[in-house]
Structure formats: C-alpha cells, structure tokens
C-alpha cells in the first residue's frame, strides 16, 4: 500500500483552477519531485496536502487513513512535515527553539509538570535540547543554537527550516523549492542531505524544485504539473523525453531556452 494516495483532487480560487483533478500516489521510502512552471499549482498542492487549503473535491489518504477534514496541526501530528517556498522561520526565536517547536507534537509535559518543574519535565526538556543539537549537526549548522533565526544567513535558514521539519520525526517530508537561491556547492551539499535523510532516517521525501540538476540527480520519480493539471509522471529518463513536458516548458516563450538547457 502506498504511503500517500491522492485521488482526483481539485482546488479552485474564484474562477482559477489551481489544482485540477490530480491523482497521485507515493510509496514509502522514495524521493519524488514535482516540477512545473511558475503558477502551475505545486505549492497549492502542498498546501492542500497539509490542510492549509481545503480541496473542493477528491480524496487524500495517508497510511490508509483519510486526511480530509483534518486541521493542519492534526495532519502534522499524523507525520507530515514541510518547509515553505519563502522561508517561514520563527524569526525572533533562537535556532534551537525553532527546532524545539518542531517537536511540539511529541511533548508530553503537563501543566503540573511545567509549573512545578517535575523531573519528567526537566528530562524531556534536556532530551529535546540534545535532539535539537543533533539535528542541527545533521543539517550542517554549527554553534548557532542561541542565535536568533532571523540573523542566520540565507542558506543556513533553509537548513534550519529542514531541521525544524525533521524534529517532528515525520514519515513524509515535503520540501518546497529547498535549493532556490543556493550556489552550486550548497546545492551539492543539500542533495547529499536529502539522500541521507531518506537513507538513514527512512523518511519519504516529496520535493518541489526548479533546479533540474537537483531534480534529475535525486528523484526516482518525477511528477510534472502545468496549469493545475498533472501532465506526466515517470522516471527522470522518461520525463526528459516526454513530448508534453517539453511542450509545456517550450511553450513558455522567453524562459523556454533556459529550461531546455537545464533539462539536458
């Protein structure tokens, strides 16, 4: 059984169909990419999956249970974590606090334990601090635990967002353009990080990405969207040669050349 199954979801804004009858399934332990031109509906797809948007119709099942009607926090508690296209950290909190917020769904501390600083509370706090530190190291952040998130450089902020998402121990990690704005070296590192997350932590990854180096390099499966419609799905080799996909990109005039280049 697939980890995530999406059947015929549609989401409209006024007259605009941001997602149109998309069906999609994702097996456990895979790395899959969603690509498509700007405005294709990729982010909306993530937002629908995580409960921020309610789909007009269709079904979403995760681990065999429907996610429809659940609030975003309930969906997060089911094991889906995400990052955002334009980084959304808790700017005025420290790095380590950002990650500790990520663990929210796992905390057991009760009001009593909090007020009277019971041993159980202290232990849990200590452990989550240590876990946060491990995650920082894992994504490549060093000695910045007490920095405010807003003071980190751009690349580090992207990493912190990933660490925060990992803190919830998700089964599925959704990454929205994680390599945007990174230089080749950083991109290389982050590809390695994603492989690691999947291989060592066993977390399934679904990512939206424009950078074809990342997409072709890492994905086992690629889903292509255009105007809210899923126009193709397949391995990188299949997608490279899919005429509809090439048309979708080539049809875009000015940006076409650039995209074609990237796809080679």
């Amino acid at each position: 059984m697939a980890l995530l199954e999406i059947a015929n979801i549609t989401k409209t804004f006024g007259g605009l169909k941001a997602i149109s009858d998309v069906t999609f399934s994702l097996d456990k332990g895979r790395i899959v990419s969603i690509i498509g031109p700007n405005g294709a509906g990729k982010t909306s797809f993530f937002n629908t999956l995580t409960g921020i948007y309610k789909p007009d119709s269709g079904a979403i099942t995760f681990n065999g249970k429907s996610l429809l009607g659940l609030r975003p926090d309930q969906i997060a508690a089911r094991g889906i974590s995400r990052t955002f296209q334009n980084i959304r950290l808790f700017a005025d909190m420290t790095v380590i606090e950002n990650i500790m917020v990520g663990m929210h769904v796992h905390y057991k501390q009760s009001a009593l334990a909090i007020l009277f600083r019971l041993e159980s509370f202290k232990k849990e706090e200590r452990e989550s601090e240590q876990k946060a530190l491990r995650l920082m190291k894992y994504v490549g952040l060093k000695n910045v635990e007490n920095e405010l998130a807003k003071n980190l450089p751009y690349g580090a902020q992207r990493r912190l967002e990933i660490a925060r998402a990992l803190a919830a121990d998700p089964q599925l990690l959704l990454l929205d353009e994680p390599a945007a704005g990174m230089n080749p070296q950083e991109t290389e590192d982050i590809i390695q990080l994603f492989r690691n997350i999947r291989d060592k932590m066993g977390i399934t990854i679904l990512l939206i990405e424009h950078d074809m180096r990342v997409v072709m390099n890492i994905s086992e499966d690629i889903c292509v969207m255009d105007y809210g419609v899923k126009i193709a799905q397949g391995t990188p080799a299949e997608i490279r040669n899919n005429t509809r996909v090439i048309e979708a990109y080539l049809g875009r005039g000015a940006v076409a050349g650039q995209h074609e280049e990237k796809m080679q």
Partner: protein, 446 residues
C-alpha cells in the same frame, strides 16, 4: 552616539564592588530622602527607582534578593504608613504590574492584541463585590432603595477562597469569549475584544434591572475585607513604631496587608509566567506570534494555544480584580473603561512586550506618571495660578492660565504619545525581551 557612550560608562561602573556600593547608596539615599521629606514626590521617585538599580547593576542574586526584600518588606511599609499616599502609589503599581503581566502573556507572548483586557479584571472585581457584599439581598431592590440592615452573604474571610474562584471564573470567561473570536485575524480580534470590554462595562452599568446584580453606575459598596487578626497590628507596632514614629491604626494596617497580598500575587504571577514561557506552551505561543501558518504546520493547534494564552492572561486579571474589590470596599463601572485597557496596553508596550522586567517597569513608569508626575505638575500649575508670577518675556500672568490646562486630566494624551513614539522609535520597548540562551549539556552516554 551619546547612548553608546553612556552604555560604556555604565558597563564600566557596573562591575565588582562598585555595583554593590551603588545599589546600597541608592537604596539608602532614597530611604533617607523619603524619611526626612515625607511629602516630596522627588524623594519618593529616588526611592522606587532603586528597584531599577537593583535590576540593572550586576550583583550576586542572593544580595539582590536580600536588598529587594528589605526594600519591599521593611522600607516601603515604614515610609508607606508615614505617608499613606506612597503606599497607595506602590499598591497601584503592584496592581497594574499584575495586570500588565497578564496582558503581556496575551499580547507579548502570543501576539494577540486584546483591547478589552480590563473586562476580566471587572469580572473578578464584580465577582467578589457580589458575593462579598449585601448585593445578593439587594437583587430585588432598585439602586438606592434597599434597607440598610441587610445581612452579608458570605463572611469576609471567603475572600481567600474567592482569589481562587476569581482565577477560575475569569479564566473561563476568557475561554468563553475566546472560543468564537480567536479564529479571527489579529486586527479583527483587537476590535472584537474592545467590543467585549465595552459590553462588560455597559452590563455593569445596566444590570441593576430587571434584577439588581451590579447596582448600576453607583457601584457596589460596602464590600467586605478579610478579618485582620489583632496580633498583626500589635506585632507591627512593636517592631516598627519606633521607625514610623507613631503607632498605626488597623485601617493603615489593612492598606499594608493589601500591599503585601498584591506583592504575593505578583510573585506568583511572575513565577507562573516564567515557567510557562520556558516550556512547550511558551514556545508554542511565541511560534504562533511569529508565524501562524508555520506554527500550525509544525503541529501546534492554533486555537487551543490562543485560548490558553487568553485564559491565563484573564485569570491574572481576575485575581487582581478580587483583590481590588476587597481593598477598595467599593467598585463601580468607571474603573473598567476602555481607557484602562489601553493604559495597561501602554504599560506593556512601553516596558517591552514579552519582557517580564519590562512590563513591570512599564507599569511603574505609567502609574507614577499618572499619580505623581502629572498630578504634581497640576498642583504646581495651580500654585502658579494663585501666585502673582508672570512669564517674563511674553509677559503672561500665570493667573490667566486656563483651568482646563490640568495635566492630570490628560492621561489619554500621554498614553497616545507613548504608544505612537514607542511604535516608531523603539517597538521592542524600554527593556526588550531576550530569548534565553541554552547551555546544552554534552550528550549523556546511554
């Protein structure tokens, strides 16, 4: 430029024994001045600013605690009973500090702008006013028509129980109001809470019919106080009357008692606030404040977290309301106006939203501004009016100064100015909130 120079200078003195000496000198100077000049506002300001020395200078925590305790438990009671106005100022500072701490949870931590915060204060106050007075037996009388020999519903000592009841009922009111409105976006929430504040005030004004719950605009009086054991007065007099210079009356002792109770409540509130802040709850509040969408995607239930913040903040106001009703023995709707809510908000913004020492400082500054600086200024203007003095260059006789120019009546103007200026020049407040630095212990071997 200038400020960095001062900061350097401050850092230079703020170390080693010099800091201890400065603290001690400030406290002693303040005490001496107030003791010798019991009517001087300035002397009193010197004394209470010694709390700031205590906060800003670096010294051993035990030393600070000791000096703080001497200040709060010996010096202030003694100078307070010598000039009861000082005690009143300190009491009001304490009450407002507690309110500001409560609002700070809602505005500072969770980022929810509550413009009707004193409604919860009113709930606490009217709760004890109703149960701790004759009002229960006045239900069927229109205001002013009741016989004077009605019994009291509960004994005065039920006050202690009602401190807890106030916490619970105000907290529940917070949840009840919050449930429908906390889904709203921030700025709508502000207007709705403002509306709620008005609703409570209008209810207090008009629920004298069909059944007389609140006695309308006249307010409820007398409200009972807890009994004062005789030994407390004797005991205080044996220890302190040489310092005070005369034995004190039970009435003064009541003022002292409520001051001490207010202090206890504040200490409990600070304790609760700090612990909540440093837990999953406080982190979730701050996360919600920083970015709701990111917070909910992290698994934080928005509405529940906001409700908790609302309830905790409300309960602090509730307990202070009960205390206020008992200490004043009289309450009326006037004390719970929109202006009071904005006053408390001003304290939070001025001091630094999210910062515990900040909002206490804010409460102290705004309250002294109201009670001492503005009123002092008004008195001074009055004196000038009565004199024959003339402003030299423009040849303006003080006598002709309009009596409308009475600074004490222009609190709104100052609240407004403070809010605007702080937002433009120092939005984080006088003492900005700081995030705690964590020293993470090295990994334990398993």
């Amino acid at each position: 430029m200038v400020s960095s120079y001062f900061k350097e200078l401050f850092d230079k003195v703020n170390q080693g024994p010099l800091a201890y000496i400065l603290i001690t000198v400030h406290v002693i100077a303040g005490t001496y001045l107030v003791y010798t000049e019991p009517r001087s506002n300035l002397a009193f300001l010197v004394l209470i600013t010694s709390f700031m020395s205590l906060y800003f200078f670096q010294a051993d925590v035990r030393f600070k605690l000791f000096v703080g305790a001497v200040l709060a438990l010996v010096i202030i009671p003694v100078v307070g009973v010598r000039n009861i106005f000082y005690l009143e100022v300190i009491f009001q500072i304490s009450v407002f500090a507690a309110l500001a701490l409560g609002l700070n949870i809602v505005v500072g931590f969770a980022g929810l702008l509550d413009l009707g915060y004193v409604a919860f204060y009113a709930v606490g106050a009217y709760l004890w006013a109703f149960f701790g007075s004759q009002q229960f037996y006045v239900l069927h009388y229109a205001p002013g028509t009741q016989p004077s020999d009605l019994p009291f519903l509960l004994p005065g000592d039920a006050f202690y129980m009602f401190l807890l009841v106030g916490v619970v009922i105000a907290g529940l009111t917070g949840i009840l109001l919050g449930l429908p409105v906390l889904r709203l976006k921030g700025d709508y929430l502000a207007i709705v809470t403002l509306g709620f504040g008005e609703v409570i005030r209008v209810l207090a004004n008009n629920l004298d019919k069909p059944l007389n719950f609140t006695n309308g605009p006249q307010g409820i009086t007398p409200i009972q106080r807890p009994t004062m054991p005789d030994f407390a007065v004797d005991w205080f007099n044996t220890i302190f009357s040489p310092l005070v210079g005369h034995p004190i009356s039970p009435a003064d002792m009541y003022n002292l008692m409520f001051y001490i109770y207010a202090l206890i409540v504040i200490i409990v509130i600070i304790f609760v606030t700090r612990r909540l802040d440093d837990s999953k709850l406080g982190r979730a509040w701050t996360a919600v404040r920083e970015d709701e969408t990111a917070a909910i995607a992290q698994g934080i239930p928005l509405v529940r977290m906001k409700l908790t913040a609302f309830a905790v903040g409300a309960s602090f106001a509730g307990v202070m309301g009960v205390l206020l009703a008992a200490s004043r023995t009289f309450i009326s709707p006037e004390s719970f106006s929109f202006m009071q809510s904005i006053g408390v908000l001003t304290m939070v913004i001025l001091g630094g939203s999210g910062s515990i020492p900040g909002v206490i400082l804010g409460a102290a500054v705004v309250t002294t501004l109201n009670l001492q600086v503005l009123q002092g200024f008004s008195l001074y203007l009055n004196e000038l009016r009565q004199s024959d003095a003339v402003i030299p260059v423009i040849n303006f006789a003080w006598k002709d100064l309009s009596t409308q120019l009475d600074p004490a009546k222009y609190q709104k103007l100052f609240f407004g100015l403070i809010l605007i200026l702080m937002m433009i020049f120092r939005p984080a407040g006088l003492i900005p909130a700081k995030r705690r630095k964590r020293q993470v212990a090295p990994e334990e071997s398993k």
